[in-house]
């Protein structure tokens, strides 16, 4: 077989796989219970929020525990905008992303000068600050009482009111963002990011504006987190401060670490674990926080590439007949 023919066959297989995945995705809700679809909707929401964390960690080497804060900003912006100000939903979603982005830029410029454990603990401090503010700024957030009656999203007269319907809203959004992040990774910026991560000194010499690039990716991640928060608010229609506590930040980080920070599709696997595990373990009481913490430890020590890295290594091993694969660059 010539190289050309081989690559054509490979493309054909990839194409067929994509079509099969698409068909399964479309058909899935028709065969599942309402609660199972609910889990898949949350998986989609968490995939979106987790993508931002994963990209920051994998491509910029930034451990961010602040995502729960940006997620909360998105949720509160859309809740306050629709219920109090009476603004249209799309305006509120964009508003939440803008507020998040502006705050991320203002905070990111000083904080992203830090690195290593200083930076990770600084983002944890940010998450705590955000949580306290959500509790204290009662005139916006409703404090512990929260905000109820957040309207459902509707498009051309079709209201995404049930888990079944919302599934077809959240997943196209998640897929679009997955694709966007993949494209970003393959773009000049993606190359610059990898250079910055692997050889910061050389990257600086090559003229890559390290500080501003880090801030821009942080801002992007915050905006994506806010988008996920807005979707969450419109899906559950009631939000309170409990949804944006530190355990949410841990969950988002776990999605990134479990999914594999160098693997963009791996994020879905991480998000599925984080959503499904608490649901099936709930009859044992509050056991899932312990499971999450242990999963984080085990994944960091034994599975540094996450699910995604593990699958990529496995695939490369199989196709190259056991030859040691090179580290997956991403995608």
């Amino acid at each position: 077989m010539t190289a050309l023919a081989r690559s054509a066959t490979a493309h054909l297989w990839t194409g067929m796989l994509m079509v099969a995945v698409l068909l399964v995705w479309v058909a899935l809700p028709w065969f599942l219970s309402r609660s199972a679809i609910d889990i898949l909707v949350f998986t989609g929401i968490y995939t979106i929020a987790g993508l931002g964390v994963s990209f920051l960690l994998g491509q910029c080497g930034i451990v961010s525990l602040a995502q729960s804060g940006f997620y909360g900003i998105g949720a509160y912006a859309t809740a306050y905008g629709t219920t109090v100000l009476g603004l249209p939903i799309p305006v509120c979603i964009v508003l939440g992303m803008l507020v998040s982005a502006v705050i991320a830029a203002a905070v990111g410029v000083p904080v992203l000068r830090l690195s290593g454990h200083f930076l990770a603990l600084a983002t944890l401090a940010l998450a705590i600050i955000a949580h306290v503010l959500f509790l204290e700024l009662e005139w916006i957030t409703g404090g512990t009482l929260g905000i109820g009656g957040i309207p459902r999203i509707s498009l051309f007269g079709f209201t995404f009111a049930t888990p079944f319907r919302f599934y077809y809203l959240v997943w196209p959004s998640a897929f679009a963002l997955l694709l966007a992040y993949s494209l970003l990774l393959r773009s000049r910026t993606g190359i610059a990011l990898r250079a910055m991560r692997d050889a910061p000194a050389a990257a600086a010499v090559a003229g890559i504006p390290i500080a501003s690039l880090k801030v821009r990716i942080f801002v992007l991640s915050a905006a994506v987190g806010a988008f996920a928060g807005s979707l969450f608010a419109h899906y559950v229609s009631f939000i309170s401060v409990d949804s944006f506590a530190i355990d949410r930040a841990i969950g988002f980080l776990l999605i990134a670490v479990l999914g594999g920070v160098r693997s963009i599709p791996g994020t879905i696997a991480g998000a599925l674990f984080v959503t499904a595990a608490p649901n099936y373990l709930s009859r044992l009481g509050d056991i899932h926080p312990l499971l999450f913490a242990l999963a984080l430890i085990v994944a960091v020590i034994f599975l540094p590439g996450g699910f995604g890295g593990f699958m990529a290594n496995l695939g490369a091993k199989l196709s190259s007949g056991g030859r040691r694969p090179s580290a997956p660059a991403g995608g």
């Binding site: 200083f118 401090a125 530190i246 242990l294």
Partner: protein
């Protein structure tokens, strides 16, 4: 602000400051001996407090025995953290980020385990001297808080002596400053790291049993203690025992003055903002670069 209120808030800040200092002390011990930030330090204190509570309140043992059990449990936890988490991570050449994530995971695990075991309630524990109070210029201070300050200072003195005068203390410093050089001298670097974490754990357990009578035991208390202790340790230069206490007191005073002037709800916002500001502006601490090198 009246004079009494000012004195009262200074006393509260002083007490809290020594608590943060004690946590920072444990972080400084681990950093001095192993160059690793232990993000579990506040949760080691939580373990100490929970064990002391279980021993004295649930099993009815005398309070001093409960205290000792709490401190020992802290030391044991520190030792296990090294064996079960730090060592496997280092073996696989984990980065600085991996080490921090692993200890953060440990912190979340401890907090989650306490949640599972104790639930969401908070538990009071009697202090040294019960609830007796001393009058200071019409403001009041608990006898226990005075004991906390005295014991903290004693621990700092003991650590100074340990690092400067004992062979083990010197070997421990050597192993952290130049691991390969220490190895050629026959120092078991791995054992020194285990010892360092055990020592940090003892300090953490002590912090736990001393802080619990003042703030009640609650499953979420560890993380904030860690972060405030970390701020204290950085202010003190990250590896100096005395510096950590000094940084803790400074942080405690600023925090409690902020509480009286702003609002108590924003207390943690103030301290977390201070932590971030300290990391950015004073990463070497107040005493300059020398402290971080452990000398």
């Amino acid at each position: 602000m009246t004079f009494t209120l000012l004195i009262q808030s200074i006393l509260a800040g002083l007490t809290n400051g020594f608590v943060y200092g004690l946590i920072g002390l444990g972080i400084a011990v681990a950093f001095r001996g192993a160059r690793i930030i232990n993000a579990m330090q506040g949760d080691v204190a939580l373990i100490g407090a929970v064990m002391a509570y279980s021993a004295s309140v649930s099993f009815g043992l005398p309070m001093p025995v409960g205290f000792v059990i709490g401190v020992v449990a802290g030391g044991l936890t520190g030792f296990l953290v090294d064996r079960l988490m730090i060592r496997p991570t280092l073996k696989r050449r984990g980065s600085e980020d991996s080490l921090l994530l692993v200890t953060l995971g440990g912190a979340f695990a401890v907090s989650a385990a306490v949640l599972l075991y104790f639930g969401r309630d908070s538990y009071p524990i009697p202090g040294i001297g019960g609830n007796d109070i001393v009058d200071v210029f019409d403001a009041s201070m608990r006898v226990h808080a005075i004991w906390l300050i005295v014991i903290s200072l004693a621990v700092v003195a003991a650590l100074r002596w340990f690092y400067a005068k004992t062979l083990v203390g010197q070997a421990l410093l050597a192993a952290s400053i130049d691991p390969e050089g220490a190895l050629t001298l026959g120092i078991n670097v791995g054992r020194m790291r285990a010892l360092t974490f055990g020592l940090g754990g003892l300090v953490g357990g002590l912090a736990g049993v001393l802080v619990a009578p003042l703030i009640n035991i609650q499953y979420e208390m560890g993380l904030l203690l860690t972060l405030k202790g970390f701020a204290a340790a950085i202010l003190g230069g990250l590896s100096s025992p005395f510096g950590a206490i000094f940084g803790g007191v400074l942080l405690g005073l600023v925090e409690s003055l902020a509480v009286v002037t702003i609002s108590s709800g924003y207390k943690d916002v103030v301290s977390m903002t201070l932590l971030i500001a300290i990391m950015i502006v004073l990463p070497q601490g107040l005493f300059g670069r020398r402290g971080r090198l452990g000398g």
